[in-house]
C-alpha cells in the first residue's frame, strides 16, 4: 500500500456539489411532473415524507441515535400548520414558518429527552416520547380533531399568485422547490464543522468528550435542526393534502420512515431520498392491492437489507461515484 495522497477534496468550483444536487432533484422532479401528471398528489405526499426521512437521517445517519419516535416532529408541525390555517393564517410561507417553528420546538424537546442516553434506554425513550405525542394528539380533540383528524385546511396563494389547484400542480412544484432549497442547505450543513463533529460523535462519543466537546448539547441542537426539517415536511403535507390525521404521529409512521432511511442508506442524505422514493412507489402499487401482502413484503425486505445490505441500497452507487471522482483527481 503506497502512502500517496489518494484524494484531494479541494473543490475547484465552489458550491459544485450543492448545485449538482439541486439539478439532480430538479431533473427528477421534472420527470415526475411531465410523465405522471395524474399522480401529482401522491408525488407531493412523497416529497412531504422525504423531509421526515431526511430529518431522521440527520439524527440516525449522522449522529447514530436510534429512534422510533421521529414522527412526532412531523406530526406536531403538521398539526400546528393545519390549526393555524384553519384559524385564519393562510399564507403558505407563513404556514411553512409555523411548521418549522413547531418542528424545531418538538425536536428540541425530543432531543433533550432522547439524546440523554445511548442504546436501549434511548430507543425506549424515543418510542415513549412519540407515543406520548400521539396520545396527546388524540386527547386534545378540540384542537386536533382527534381520531377524525383536522380537515378543511385551505392555504392561500403561493407568493400571492399561485393557487393550490385540484391537480396538485402548485402543491407539487412548491414542495419540489422547497425540497431543493432544504436539500442544498443540508448538504452544506453536514459538511460544516458542526456536521462533522456530529459524525465524530457517532463514531466515538467518549473520544469527542476527550477533545473537549460537550456532546449532549450538540445532539440536542442537531435534534432541533432535524425537527425544523421534519417541520417543513409536516407543514407542506398539511397544506397539500388539506387534512392532518393521527397517522402523522403514529408509531407506524416512525417505523416506516426508519425503514425508508435504512433501505436507501443512512448518513448520505441521498440515501434518504432514494429510500423514500423506492419505498413509497412500491407501497403505492402493492399496498393498494393487498395491505397484508405489503406487510409481508416489507418484512422480507427489511430482513434482506439487514442480512445483505445493512448500509442501504445507495451505498454501492455512492462508492462507485467516489471511485469515479478519485480516478479523475489522480
Amino acid at each position: 500500500m503506497t502512502d500517496t495522497v489518494s484524494h484531494v477534496p479541494r473543490r475547484t468550483i465552489p458550491f459544485a456539489q450543492e448545485a449538482g444536487g439541486a439539478l439532480a432533484i430538479a431533473a427528477l422532479g421534472a420527470v415526475g411532473y411531465f410523465l405522471f401528471p395524474d399522480d401529482l398528489a401522491f408525488l407531493t405526499r412523497l416529497i412531504g415524507i422525504s423531509f421526515l426521512v431526511l430529518s431522521l437521517d440527520l439524527v440516525t445517519g449522522f449522529c447514530g441515535i436510534a429512534t422510533l419516535g421521529h414522527a412526532a416532529q412531523f406530526g406536531v408541525a403538521a398539526y400546528a400548520a393545519g390549526i393555524a390555517c384553519v384559524r385564519g393564517v393562510t399564507d403558505p410561507l407563513a404556514l411553512l414558518g409555523i411548521g418549522i417553528f413547531a418542528g424545531t420546538l418538538m425536536g428540541l424537546i425530543s432531543g433533550a429527552l432522547i439524546a440523554r442516553f445511548r442504546g436501549l434506554p434511548q430507543l425506549v425513550l424515543s418510542i415513549a416520547v412519540g407515543q406520548l405525542v400521539a396520545a396527546l394528539a388524540n386527547k386534545l380533540q378540540w384542537l386536533t380533531g382527534g381520531s377524525d383528524g383536522l380537515s378543511g385546511i385551505s392555504p392561500g396563494k403561493v407568493f400571492g399568485i399561485y393557487n393550490f389547484d385540484m391537480y396538485s400542480r402548485t402543491a407539487y412544484l412548491f414542495s419540489l422547490a422547497v425540497l431543493i432549497v432544504v436539500f442544498v442547505a443540508l448538504t452544506r450543513f453536514v459538511r460544516s464543522p458542526f456536521g462533522l463533529m456530529c459524525r465524530a460523535i457517532k463514531d466515538d462519543d467518549l473520544r469527542a468528550k476527550m477533545i473537549g466537546v460537550a456532546v449532549y448539547p450538540r445532539l440536542v441542537i442537531m435534534y432541533g435542526v432535524s425537527g425544523a426539517v421534519a417541520g417543513v415536511g409536516g407543514a407542506l403535507t398539511a397544506m397539500s393534502t388539506g387534512v392532518v390525521g393521527l397517522d402523522s404521529v403514529a408509531f407506524e409512521r416512525s417505523a416506516e420512515v426508519l425503514v425508508m432511511l435504512v433501505l436507501g442508506g443512512a448518513g448520505h442524505l441521498w440515501g434518504a431520498l432514494a429510500g423514500t422514493v423506492i419505498f413509497m412507489i412500491f407501497e403505492h402499487i402493492v399496498a393498494a392491492a393487498n395491505p397484508f401482502h405489503w406487510m409481508t413484503l416489507v418484512g422480507v425486505l427489511l430482513i434482506g437489507i439487514v442480512v445483505f445490505a445493512p448500509r442501504g441500497l445507495i451505498e454501492p452507487v455512492l462508492s462507485l461515484f467516489a471511485r469515479f471522482r478519485k480516478g479523475r483527481a489522480s
Binding site: T60, A66, L68, L113, R116, F117, G119, L120, P121, L123, V124, L125, I127, A128, V129, Q131, L132, A135, L136, N138, K139, Q141, F251, E252, A255, L258, V259, V262, F292, H293, W294, M295, T296, L297, V298, G299, V300, L301, L302, I303, I305, V306, V307, P310
Partner: protein, 289 residues
C-alpha cells in the same frame, strides 16, 4: 370501593398477562442482548395456534395451550437458526430493531394470509369462564386464572434459574460470557435453549392472556412497544424487574383507562419516560459494559 377493586383486578390481571409474555423477552434481552421487537408476534402465533386447536381440532383448553407452546417453538426454530443468531450481542440496537421489525411484519402478513384478518377468540373451558365469588365480591374467574398463571410462572422461573444446572449455566453466560465459554459451557446451546424458553413463555402468555390482549393480525404491532417497554423499565434479565414493571405499568395504564380514557396511553408513557430517566437500565437492571 367497588371501582377500586375493579381497577385492581383488571390491572393485576393485565399486569400478569404482560409479565408472562414479557419475561421471556426479558430473559432473551438479558442473555443475548437482542432487542426483539418480534416477541409479540410469536406470542400472537401462540394465540392463533390455540384458537385453531380449540375451534377446529376440538381439543381441550389445556391441550390447546400445550399445542400452542410447542407449535410456536417449532415455528421459531428456523428464525433462530437463520436470523437471530446473526444479531445476538450486537452492540448496535438499530440492526436488531430493523431485523425484528421485519420479522414482525412478515409474521403479521403470513398470519393474516392463513387465518384471515378477523379477531380470534380462544374459547375458555366452563371452569374458567364466568364469575367467581370470593365472598364480598365477584371477580371474573379468568382474571384469577391469569394471575395464578403469572405467579406460577414467576415461581417456576425462579426455581429454574436459581436451582437448576441450566439456570446456573444461564446466569454464568449472562454475567461472564467469555468465562463461560472458557469453562466449556456451550453458549450457542444455552442461547438456543433460552430462545425456546422465551418463545414458549411468550406463546403461553399469548394464549392465557387472549381475553385481555385479543388475538388479531395487528396484535404483534399493537403490543410490540408494550413488551419492550416493560422489559426496559424492569431491567432486562430480572424476574423481579419484569414483575414489578408489569404491575406498575399495568396499574398506570388500567387506572388511566378507567379514570381518564380520552388520555389513552398518555399516562402509561409518561410513567415510562419518568422511570427510564431515573433508572436508565430499568428498576432492577444492571448496566452492561
Amino acid at each position: 370501593m367497588r371501582l377500586a377493586l375493579s381497577i385492581l383486578t383488571d390491572a393485576v390481571a393485565y399486569g400478569m398477562a404482560l409479565f408472562i409474555i414479557s419475561i421471556g423477552l426479558s430473559i432473551m434481552m438479558g442473555l443475548m442482548r437482542v432487542v426483539n421487537l418480534a416477541h409479540g408476534a410469536f406470542a400472537m402465533i401462540g394465540g392463533y395456534l390455540a384458537s385453531y386447536a380449540i375451534r377446529d381440532l376440538h381439543v381441550h383448553y389445556s391441550v390447546a395451550i400445550l399445542l400452542a407452546v410447542v407449535g410456536t417453538i417449532l415455528v421459531s426454530i428456523p428464525f433462530e437458526l437463520l436470523l437471530y443468531r446473526r444479531i445476538y450481542r450486537k452492540s448496535d440496537p438499530l440492526i436488531q430493531v430493523l431485523m425484528t421489525i421485519g420479522i414482525t411484519f412478515l409474521i403479521i402478513g403470513v398470519m393474516n394470509f392463513i387465518f384471515g384478518p378477523s379477531l380470534k377468540t380462544i374459547a375458555l373451558p366452563p371452569l374458567l369462564s364466568g364469575p367467581l365469588d370470593i365472598g364480598f365480591r365477584s371477580i371474573p374467574t379468568h382474571r384469577l386464572f391469569v394471575i395464578a398463571c403469572g405467579l406460577v410462572t414467576a415461581l417456576a422461573l425462579w426455581l429454574l434459574i436459581e436451582k437448576t444446572e441450566f439456570g446456573i449455566k444461564l446466569r454464568a453466560s449472562v454475567d461472564h460470557s467469555g468465562m463461560a465459554d472458557a469453562l466449556g459451557i456451550r453458549t450457542e446451546i444455552i442461547y438456543a435453549a433460552t430462545f425456546a424458553l422465551a418463545i414458549g413463555l411468550g406463546a403461553f402468555g399469548g394464549v392465557v392472556g387472549a381475553e385481555i390482549l385479543p388475538i388479531e393480525p395487528f396484535y404483534a404491532l399493537r403490543y410490540m412497544v408494550t413488551f419492550l417497554v416493560v422489559v426496559s423499565v424492569g431491567g432486562a434479565g430480572s424476574i423481579m424487574g419484569a414483575l414489578s414493571a408489569s404491575m406498575l405499568l399495568g396499574l398506570a395504564d388500567t387506572t388511566g383507562k378507567y379514570l381518564a380514557p380520552e388520555f389513552g396511553e398518555f399516562f402509561f408513557y409518561l410513567t415510562v419516560i419518568f422511570i427510564v430517566f431515573l433508572f436508565p437500565h430499568g428498576l432492577f437492571g444492571r448496566s452492561h459494559a
